[in-house]
Symmetry: C2
Subunit: 342 residues, 2 copies
């Protein structure tokens, strides 16, 4: 019998069906009559409850003593679950104990700090939070591709090793010894813009989506040394078209997350950032506001707020200005056009 | 009126329909009664034929003199085309001349060598061959994602900057000055395997698909300094499962190219590699052969061929051996299992 993924069991399984699952023990409870195992396989935030009878032949020798993280293969019959939080459970007929973990396995059924998890990078994807981050990131990446592919954009794999600095987009890492290799100094890209522009002028619509680098040693939430960036480039497109595309894009990606990752997003809403889902729902449902630079400046000047960065016609808008405009003035995303030419 | 892409005009356009197209002039022919423009926009290998009357008001001042590469916006009515190679053409009512090119524009309606094109990297995507490569590469990348996403794999963006050398997979580029930045020497990844293995042991099924590097200064068709690599990792999977997945994967991606890029593939078959389509069709339709290492060795030893690398039990199979087995012995793809342990 082929194994079924836990997400498929929970979504499509029926009472009375026989099935096999493979995964890891997230927690176990033992009573005299039976044990309850919570088995996860990474396909869902939810686990499948296994009902384990002491009559199984390896119960006393193995199953009674399993620790969190043990790898198992279980076969049995699906039954309606009387417990809270699940509608199905597996009445186990056999369990193979495939591999165990050290007795000092550091992940337990409790909240671990991110700092602690940073020290066990090989295990942290097994936590609810990090696994949810990876599933949501995957769904976002898929939605990004779907959005562009459905609109005829060509995905360009723009180079990482480059001599172009994209109009000084940021500090660049340099590759050691590149001169003897390439005949000139080579750095890690800060933007695929140059290649994407070339691509757009041949293929019409392209996007880059790949790793990007900044050699800026700042420990803020703004900059990572390495991150994935999306850069669409379109020929025959004006600023209004581009604003409309940006709005559609953000909404399509967020809508996909809310629909396809509802459990993981509910987990984030509950444990990581209260109000997250309502905020994203609001964004998805609101038409973005449009304003010219001059209108934006006027709104800021008439706000009565004092800002750290002074306001006069010609200055770049700073984060504090953007936040006031979006969060307090128009209360939704805002696209500002007609910036003064540099 | 919004512009329609050339691929959509050719596929869905109907005689009598009014439409607008935007693109670049690939070639022009002039007669006394009219001009014929071949307009491409990168959405298709094919262009749309524009029928341009000398009565248009900018005919003598602009249209008569346009060179290859000029950017145009044309509006008109679709008509049945009497010419060969197309079923529709656009009877132009207005043409806007948006931008021209220098009079020494290097791309002409003739075959350019790849070496020549290498020197004009900003223009070569406008050639039929390179544009087709990009469209086909995009379709392959999309098919790769679709394959894994449909099977519940999570796409991991494994790091480029790394201290891991993936069991010595290849020579690594080093990042200059990384020690003061990261506190230790940092290199460019040769494989996302380590992170993907960690991911698979938490999420069950993952794949990496991103840039990978080799600091090996070899000018062969085998190695690039930078290339995109795909690495699936699965928990609870044996070698037979993995072989089946590899076979399904290759077939799914090639089938997508043959179906979705039929024009570009036909172009490659005609101009770049005769027999390409038949070869790929054969691969898609054949069940892959399976053989153990011992069987493969026996077939090689009994072949009567002389090979450069000597054959005895325990040696790694070399390219010459693999080619003989696939191309001459089983005449289709081959998966060899039960390699001797190292």
């Amino acid at each position: 019998m082929k194994a079924t993924r836990v997400c498929d069991v929970l979504e499509h399984g029926a009472v009375g069906e026989r099935c096999r699952v493979e995964g890891w023990l997230r927690s176990a409870r033992h009573s005299k009559q039976r044990s309850f195992f919570d088995l996860v396989d990474g396909s869902s935030a939810r686990g499948l409850q296994l009902l384990v009878s002491p009559e199984l032949e390896n119960y006393e020798t193995e199953l009674r003593h399993l620790g969190t993280g043990a790898a198992l293969r279980a076969t049995g019959e699906l039954a309606a679950s009387p417990g809270a939080g699940q509608h199905l459970e597996l009445r186990v007929e056999t369990i193979e104990y495939l591999a165990g973990v050290e007795s000092d396995y550091p992940l337990q059924k409790k909240r671990h700090s991110f700092e602690f998890l940073r020290g066990i990078a090989h295990l942290r994807p097994r936590t609810n939070t990090i696994a949810a981050v990876w599933r949501v990131r995957n769904a976002a990446a898929r939605a990004i591709h779907d959005f562009f592919q459905q609109r005829g954009f060509v995905w360009l794999h723009t180079p990482i090793l480059t001599v172009a600095d994209a109009e000084g987009a940021g500090e660049m890492f340099e590759v050691a010894g590149a001169e003897e290799f390439f005949g000139q100094p080579v750095r890690l890209t800060v933007s695929g813009q140059l290649e994407a522009e070339v691509g757009a002028l041949a293929l019409g619509r392209v996007y880059s989506f790949g790793p990007t680098f900044r050699a800026e040693n700042s420990n803020t939430s703004r900059h990572l040394s390495e991150f994935w960036m999306i850069e669409p480039e379109l020929a025959f497109c004006d600023l209004d078209d581009l604003g409309a595309l940006a709005e559609e894009f953000l909404k399509a990606v967020l809508r996909a997350l809310l629909e396809e990752c509802s459990e993981d997003m509910a987990f984030f809403d509950q444990r990581i950032e209260k109000g997250l889902i309502a905020r994203l729902q609001h964004l998805v449902e609101s038409p973005f506001e449009r304003m010219t630079y001059s209108e934006a400046l006027k709104a800021l000047q008439q706000s009565g707020r004092s800002f750290e960065f002074p306001l006069r016609w010609g200055v770049d808008l700073q984060s504090e200005h953007e936040r006031f405009l979006c969060e307090e003035f128009v209360k939704r995303p805002l696209i500002v056009s007609d910036y003064p030419a540099e």
